[in-house]
Subunit: 255 residues, 4 copies
């Protein structure tokens, strides 16, 4: 499986005087020549991104940067409270919650959407149905469907689809996303909304981002959001209040 020789990484070469990233000179070819998102995509793929890719990924990153006092933000703030000497630790704690349940499910969803997209036209609905059944039988949620707050529809979904449409993507993953949503509701008898993670997975798949690292891109953006929470925590500390609230057995019924 693992190759036995050759350099470990093709991403970067450095010597005393130079830093080459993907074969380009960092200082003369890259710094000052592109935006953060362009650089990130160039670094990941090794070729310059299309304007379509940049537009869609920027939209995804902006969509997911901030969503209030999420479990991630609470973990980051409580960690900073105990260890203010290490900002990196508070950010890491926040990132560790971007997993299989919240925010981190775009790639898991995109892999399911691929099953549908890769099926022949006349079998797509059947594949969607079988995915929904598979999860129902296992007693699991389908990643990307349902939201605890946005019960009438997650407003980020339509906006991301709109951006992707403006960018003239093919639309096969977006179509599969709606198809799977229908199948999920048919299988469960519920009215689960399509959530932002499904839409992020679909539109990133439209522009060829590998599903395996979609969670990684989400984490980059959440990390930026968490920096904001930590700056606010420095300026207007709330962790003692959060701690008191949680520890003192507040009457949750009254919330």
């Amino acid at each position: 499986m693992a190759q036995k020789s050759g350099p470990v990484t093709h991403l970067c070469f450095t010597d005393t005087n130079r830093i080459l990233v993907r074969g380009k000179d960092l200082c003369s070819d890259l710094v000052g020549k592109m935006s953060f998102t362009e650089m990130m995509l160039f670094h990941l793929m090794g070729t310059p991104p299309t304007s379509q890719q940049v537009a869609v990924v920027d939209a995804v990153l902006i969509t997911i940067m901030e969503h209030g006092l999420t479990p991630s933000a609470i973990a980051a703030r409580q960690t900073y409270f105990g260890a203010p000497e290490a900002l990196q630790g508070a950010l890491a704690a926040g990132i560790l919650g971007v997993g299989s349940r919240f925010a981190g499910t775009s790639g898991d969803c995109a892999i399911l959407l691929s099953e549908i997209v890769d099926a022949p036209e006349d079998r797509k609905k059947e594949v969607a149905r079988s995915i929904a059944e598979r999860f129902r039988a296992a007693g699991k949620f389908v990643p990307g469907y349902g939201h605890p707050v946005h019960k009438n529809g997650d407003p980020r979904v339509a906006r991301l689809v709109e951006i992707a449409t403006e960018q003239e993507v093919e639309g096969a993953y977006i179509e599969a996303m709606y198809m799977l949503g229908g199948a999920v509701n048919a299988a469960t008898g519920k009215k689960l909304v399509i959530n932002a993670s499904a839409a992020m997975g679909a539109v990133m798949a439209e522009v060829d981002i590998p599903p395996d690292i979609m969670r990684g891109l989400v984490i980059v953006s959440r990390a930026a959001g968490l920096v904001g929470h930590l700056l606010e925590e420095m300026q207007q500390p709330a962790s003692q209040r959060i701690w008191d609230l949680v520890e003192h057995g507040v009457p949750y019924e009254e919330v």
Copy 2:
């Protein structure tokens, strides 16, 4: 110290139908209207960033995204090797090494540069000298000075200064950065280079980024770089080789 009432966060408000970030509607006002870096700075500061801020911060983020098989990248790859089910854990492990010694020192340096900038014109050199002496007496490195590889000069420093100059920043922190470099070399009798972290701290201070979260911005960019390392690790696994190499007591003298 901690306030006793009012909302915990002013960053975001959500209800069933809306997500407001810093008072703007996420979907209609922000997604599709700005780049990642613009959004991150708007989120941090609460007001739209200037074009100067965006240009300088983009340059910083691109500068620090990738530097080869750093200790951070090694930690992230080795962690992914043991726990491939949790990409977030591998990214967190990589981030945890962005601390007081490598990459994470921009803010520490910027705080020192502020001491110089805030001094009266005729006392700046004296302040720089006293900082250098303070660290020498404590047997510590001054954050931002010296580099194990780029011993003839870190090429990223001149480039960042160039970008900042093009953006017509005032230049007081950049001036202080060179002044402190001179003082460090006078105090130690060595020829330590100014490294990228000093330059990142100086140019970010020029555009009013708070030193306390500079490490956070660096981490956001390093996280993007680490996503690239993890994608490469998925495609061309090298962790078994790295492990073998480290564990088998290779004759380091031969390296």
Copy 3:
């Protein structure tokens, strides 16, 4: 799913003058009255552990504390190198690699062993065979079987079985462990050894440790081992050597 009222935790109650853990006064009833392992098991289960449980869990913890320069130890040391101000970050980085591939698989294995143990006597072999086939068909390793170094047999397995036997456990999980090993080799046509994680899972299941937190107990012990690595790193720093070795593209063939 989540309960709506009542205290969040039944583990501990504190007020100005007292700390009660599982209803016992920490200072008068627990400190000085038991070993670390007894306390950990009391805390987990809410009732005093049997001497059998303490003996088996102590054996497991000692077995897994240290195994040289594992990927976990490399990650912890490289993280400490970059962020020596935060020992907790280096430990966290090391822990993050105790996942589904190395060291963290005892619980995953124990869940499989339960499938066998719970089957009627005359169907156990069939269940073992079907587990092995299921993994082979999915192209996955069965957790607890195979070892990259101890190819002739992992010496820790026999020792853990010996301890459990001395403690007069029933032996159903140990029997299932050997049965599954046979099935795995029949299914793959290889000679994979039973590794320490399988044995740890089996003997902990014999004494009623819930599989869901077996990885947690392993992590507690690995954390202790990593403290040793970090102390050694402070006293005889090796991280620069490790970094040089990995980054400089050493000819791995010569190792």
Copy 4:
């Protein structure tokens, strides 16, 4: 600084058939022959611990394992909520909060106590006073003094001193702990209690545990406590309640 040759680690040697830890055969000499705490201390020091060391360290570990819904426990639970696939991530998040402010300060305190212990008899009080003044002038808390809950005295302090006394330690660090407490109150004009971290630092210093890794030992024990919180979270999930409580802007004044 870094040595240039020789093995990276002296903690462990493995080959196909054997695992040697500190020169002892893991299976025949260690597993089944000692408790967890004995093994951890043997691993750290390379020589068998005294019974005094085992008794004192066991008391410390039991003291710090559990203290209710601490910021660490909140962070661990919220992280598990988002990423239940990775128990290691939830534990890591909890550990990241054991830093310079809560629980992680034993070593920082022990280093201060050493300054007093190492001073000539007739200068000890003066050294204690100068430490207290140094912190007051810097506007910082002295690590180990003050507690937000146990305002009349932290009950763990007397108990740890009692254990150490039963074990007939010399008592110089314990004496210094009380001396520094007096100096802190004289310098601040407050009545700050000596907290458990100070006492843990003092009694561990009495039995020759290096201050640099005291935080590491505390983390090992807290990790065990956090395993208990995560098991409870699996059995009686509370994270959704905690999240609702924090996010919904509960009237904190009413707490």
